[in-house]
Amino acid sequence: MSDKPDSSAGPAMQKEGPVQRFFRATEIDQRMLGMIIALIVIWCVFDYASGVLRGDFGGLLGGSFLTPRNLWTLLVQTSSIAVMSTGMVLLIVMRQIDLSVGSMLSLVAVVAAVFQVFQLGPVLGVGHPAIWALGVAAAIGIGALIGAANGALTAYAKIPSFIVTLGGLICYSGLAFLVARGETVAPMDKTFEVFGGGIAISWLGPFWSWAIAGLACLGIIFGIVNGRRQRQRFKFPLRPIWAEVFLASIGSAAVLGTTLVMNSYPWPFKLIENYAVANNVPIPAGIENRDGSAVCMAAEKIVRCTEGLIYYTGYSVPVLVALAVGLVMTFIATRTQFGRYVYATGGNPEAAELAGINTKWLLVKVFALMGALVGISAVISSARLNAATNALGLFSELYVIAAAVIGGTSLAGGVGTIYGAMIGALLMQSIISGMSLLNLPTAYQSIVVGVVLVLAVWLDQLYSRRVK
């Protein structure tokens, strides 16, 4: 990622303008910058439009999109697709594809739910602390197994992955139907539900959110310092100090800003009330104001008010899971032998094989990893819905592939980043959520997402041709 020599002095450097010098010095991925700018533009447009349409809900431009609440929800809604898109990047980098992730998600979610509700529940007793752990382990395990099967058929039976997983797409949805005979399996274990982010115990609250943000900032600074030290050790060209400081501050500002937004979304009014009543928390006296988000007492009644008892949500578990998956996957992709082999094989399969990489086994492992990630997504989606059905995850393969491609993964293989795919997922979900905030019919959502997908790839082509 950031270990290629860059700042070498040469005649080309003198001709550079300040903008080019800035990008060269900071090594910022211009493609990613473009995506983030697109994201911000989209957010502003939706905020403005929703304000014009519905009136002020306190968003930055007077709408309901750029409010802590909507941004918080947006991240939760994105997490399932984002998790899967990280695996899809590696597969596409290897010149393969997995069309079966949506059906696989249905299958894994239904099997894990049936296991949890009908087998573990009666045996261990509903609410047993082992249930959630076994449920999660089952989902990830089954996902990895199915993925490995897809991979083995592709690598050893030499069936193109497009066909294997197209078959899987059709077959797994049928299996998912059979397992529960088309019924909805519900409700999930109470602890398991934490992964969905829909209940109060799955919200970290401001203290832990700030703690995590602090750790993340330390991590960014450590990463930059460490990277610099490594470059010195191997005599690589260094970034100027100002660029290092700039990167550290931008990274920390992004982390702290996101945390601030998450920490300014208060618990829903009713939940504060329920919590206060259940835990005998004294409710301060105040004046009735139906539009506030905190609760207080007006005479004998509990009402909404601006100043009073209030809790803030902070990060929710599914978002943290997605971020953790993103971190781990970035590490795997860029810092491990396995990851480098994946990129090498994708860049040139013959050369990789001749260099002694066991590309077949590698492919099985990548598919199994994809499957395990589908398992994690299945946990998030079924916990979020507090139910599992064979309709869960339907069509999500399209969004997962689109997220990876919008995020700059090339179908020609060898190129793609984990963070790009996750931002791609966020971009897509922003469009979908924003349009549904404006109450636009789903037909329009599909049209816009499709156009954005093609547009993103086209712009990417133009950009890379210009760079060449």
């Binding site: 929800t73 909805t184 989606s381 819905l385």
Partner: protein, 344 residues
Amino acid sequence: MKKYALALAGAVFALTAVSSAQAAGKTIAVSWKTFQEERWKTDEAAIKAAVEAAGNTYVSTDAQGSAQKQAADIEGLISQKVDVIMVVAFDSDAILPSIKAINDAGIKSIAYDVQFEDPSALYITFDNVGVGRTIADEVQKAKPEGNYAIIKGDKGDPNATFLLGGMMEVLKAGIDSGKIKIVCETFTDGWKPDGAQKNMEQCLTSTGNKVDAVLSQNDGMASGVVAALTAQGMSGIPVGGQDGDLAAINRVALGSQTVSVWKNAKDLGKVAAEAANALAEGTAMDAIAGVGKFADGKNKVEMNAILLAPTPITKANINVAIDAGHITKDQACAGVAAGAVPGC
């Protein structure tokens, strides 16, 4: 050659066996569009039982989700000279030439659950407009005024429109008098529960939680609606759905859903089979019990129809679904305090 002769003899024997069976009674055929969904097996069992109880023979074909195969299936049934053909149409327009062929051959036809607009057929279904009406009715009983959200099904499914029509019929008076305001109305791709959850979340965000009741067009989507409401601490406001999903009946018992309108496929199968038996005996279509006129399809063609009233399952009558064997008491009442709900 010898093998051939043997096979031929076997075939002839089989044919005689079939025709001798036919001699005992009439033959009722069903052309199914698919068995992909579990419910059709329930329908089939009910039809088969009722047909055989009348001493008639049941034959069936499965179009496996293909309009072409269904056309070929029906040609085959016509050449077998069955007495009545019940059709669960895969495509309600593409089926019309086949229906004409059935009519030309002097065979009676029944449109089972899926409408096609041919006046020669008897249309038997649950009253889908009525389902929408019942959902809205029960929710309106629980919340006569306030802000309503409507979570609709897939935009390509005519049932979503029928259901909405029924809902609007009931709500119209309230909307006109200003008591009821529809604050959100969204389609949901593929009737997906997680899609409905996102739609509901966006609805709550865009209205600042000012939603007092939700009409969901099925139970799967209602599960998404309830999850979105629970996250906002709003679980318990009236939510209506349909299908009689097991999880939904449990939600009704727990109080997070107000009503699940249940279409008992066994009832539909039984009524249709009895109508088919009567038609096979030569009873005139409009002389069959429960037949009325129906002209609310796409092209407003008037047909004879039997529209069954669905059963709304609310807290008060959960025992109906338990007694019918649709759900066990344990499933329906999981998590419900003893004695809190009649029937549990």
